[in-house]
Amino acid sequence: MSPEERAFQERVDRGEKIEPKEWMPEGYRKTLVRQIGQHAHSEIVGQLPEGNWITRAPTLERKAILLAKVQDEAGHGLYLYCAAETLGVSRDELMEKLHNGSMKYSSIFNYPTLNWADIGAVGWLVDGAAIMNQVPLQRTSFGPYSRAMIRICKEESFHQRQGYDIMMKMAKGTPEQRAMAQDALNRFWYPSLMMFGPSDKDSVHSAQSIAWKIKINTNDELRQKFVDQTVPQAEYLGLTIPDDNLRWNEEKGGYDFSEPDWSEFFEVIAGNGPCNKERLGARVKAWEDGAWFREGLMAHAEKHGKRQAA
């Protein structure tokens, strides 16, 4: 470690926030850009599975809540792109990388939303898992990221409650609604567990991120915490988690549970999820179809600037 690196690490260890203009290791910057960018992309792509039910939301109030939620997600995308921009990478560059496939978004959004309870499950499980990841990141070492996370976490926990509220209505509703709720849980359970990523016990990468406080907990820690939190919620709903191996382990003070099918995870990451092509395709189409709009605004700004100058 160079003296600079050592000083940097000591600041991190002391819990100081690193600000954009301050010196940082290149690896720290790169890892942050990748992590924040991927998170931003996830917010943007994440509009799509939920957007799929806005026009079909079952009441005006549910429609309004869902619209507000999707709006928040786009807003989160905005905060995060801004945080990434402080590291010297523009939103357009990040978008370009999303569109050409060189940056990823959270794999969970490659699963379809097939019935209204899925909107509940996304709030309850997907936002629940996201919060589990994000709450510790409020203490991350990079200032702008930490501050973005603080804002985001506040809204996400609201979203999670709304999701759980939908699940509650469905689980306590007609037999058909109950079946939808169970179906949604069945389909979203393992993909939600996958959101924490594969076990990182052997990953050097993870260890470095933890040292830098870009990552606060291991994937397995967070996954266990998520399961422990979610199982009683499912019980309260009267729904069954689709895992025959799920049981309370007194000794460890947590649940034993089945690992998700990691081969599916890697398939989805590789592009072979149920909706990869459609999700990315929708974003690329939006971007390409909107080129004239963005160009029109720029041209106007230029003309207008010139005129004012003249």
């Binding site: 957007g51 939301a57 999707v70 709006q71 939908i166 974003r283 909107g290 709009f293 605004l297």
Partner: protein
């Protein structure tokens, strides 16, 4: 208020509330179709916000409608359990989204009318109407600010953005006349001081349109032809498809709570 209700035909007031609420419901639906598909993140946010405002206004107008009708129908049952012929929105708001320019132009043409209408309704003899109008008016003032600004910037942008905005204006123009046509319901509302005579809104609307189009370097069509029918339930073929999606869950699972 009781006195007022007696003095005006309840059925007309109900119709009027439906017209306001169906406009916001159907336009809100169309706008919400863009979620996640717009040209730039700021627009995703703005469109979701506009749709959200419109759905909120729908709750108020249709809620009032149900109250006036007095048969136990709620904003939700009015939104979800009427078929196309019972809808009272302007044809303009059910036009397909088209490209983003068409969506924006539709929004601007509607916003300009909507704001003037709401301003007039703030002085309604019916305090419930006035209250909703005041609340909605604040939101719609912002909608108009945004849509007029974008129409100007895109009209006076590149050749392509100009061309698209002009095409959108030409396309949608024949759907604007309906906003100013009056029928017996409108006459009853005007008579009772509840709502303005639709024709009275036209001069200011035209002035706003003229000014914005001037700045946008766009040409206001001189065609006088108007599509009409929405206010009395004769819609375009698009509305049926909108309702098929909008109402699916309520139709498929009658009586369920969500």
């Amino acid at each position: 208020m009781g006195a007022l209700e007696a003095s005006v035909d309840r059925a007309s007031l109900f119709e009027f509330a439906l017209r306001m609420g169906d406009n916001t419901l159907i336009l809100g639906h169309r706008v919400s179709e863009w979620c996640g598909h717009s040209p730039v993140l700021e627009e995703d946010i703005a469109l979701a916000n506009t749709a959200l405002d419109l759905i909120g206004q729908t709750q108020m107008w249709l809620g009032l409608g149900g109250e006036i009708e007095g048969k136990g129908r709620t904003a939700d049952s009015l939104a979800y359990l009427r078929d196309a012929a019972a809808f009272r929105n302007l044809l303009l708001v059910e036009r397909p989204n088209g490209d983003f320019g068409q969506t924006l132009m539709r929004q601007f043409l509607f916003d300009a009318w909507h704001l003037d209408m709401l301003k007039a309704l703030e002085r309604s003899a019916d305090s419930r109407v006035a209250e909703i109008a005041a609340k909605a008016g604040r939101e719609v003032a912002y909608h108009l600010e945004r849509s007029s600004d974008l129409v100007i910037r895109l009209g006076d942008g590149t050749d392509e953005s100009h061309r698209r905005m002009q095409a959108a204006l030409d396309d949608l123009w024949p759907y604007t006349g309906e906003m100013f046509l009056a029928d017996a319901v409108d006459a009853a509302m005007a008579e009772a001081g509840i709502a303005p005579d639709p024709a009275s809104l036209k001069p200011h609307w035209q002035a706003v349109i003229g000014e914005v189009m001037g700045e946008a370097t766009l040409t206001v069509p001189d065609s006088g032809y108007s599509h009409k029918g929405g206010k009395r339930g004769v819609h375009t073929e698009h509305l049926g498809y909108i309702l098929a999606d909008l109402q699916f869950l309520q139709r498929a699972y009658p009586g369920a709570k969500w």
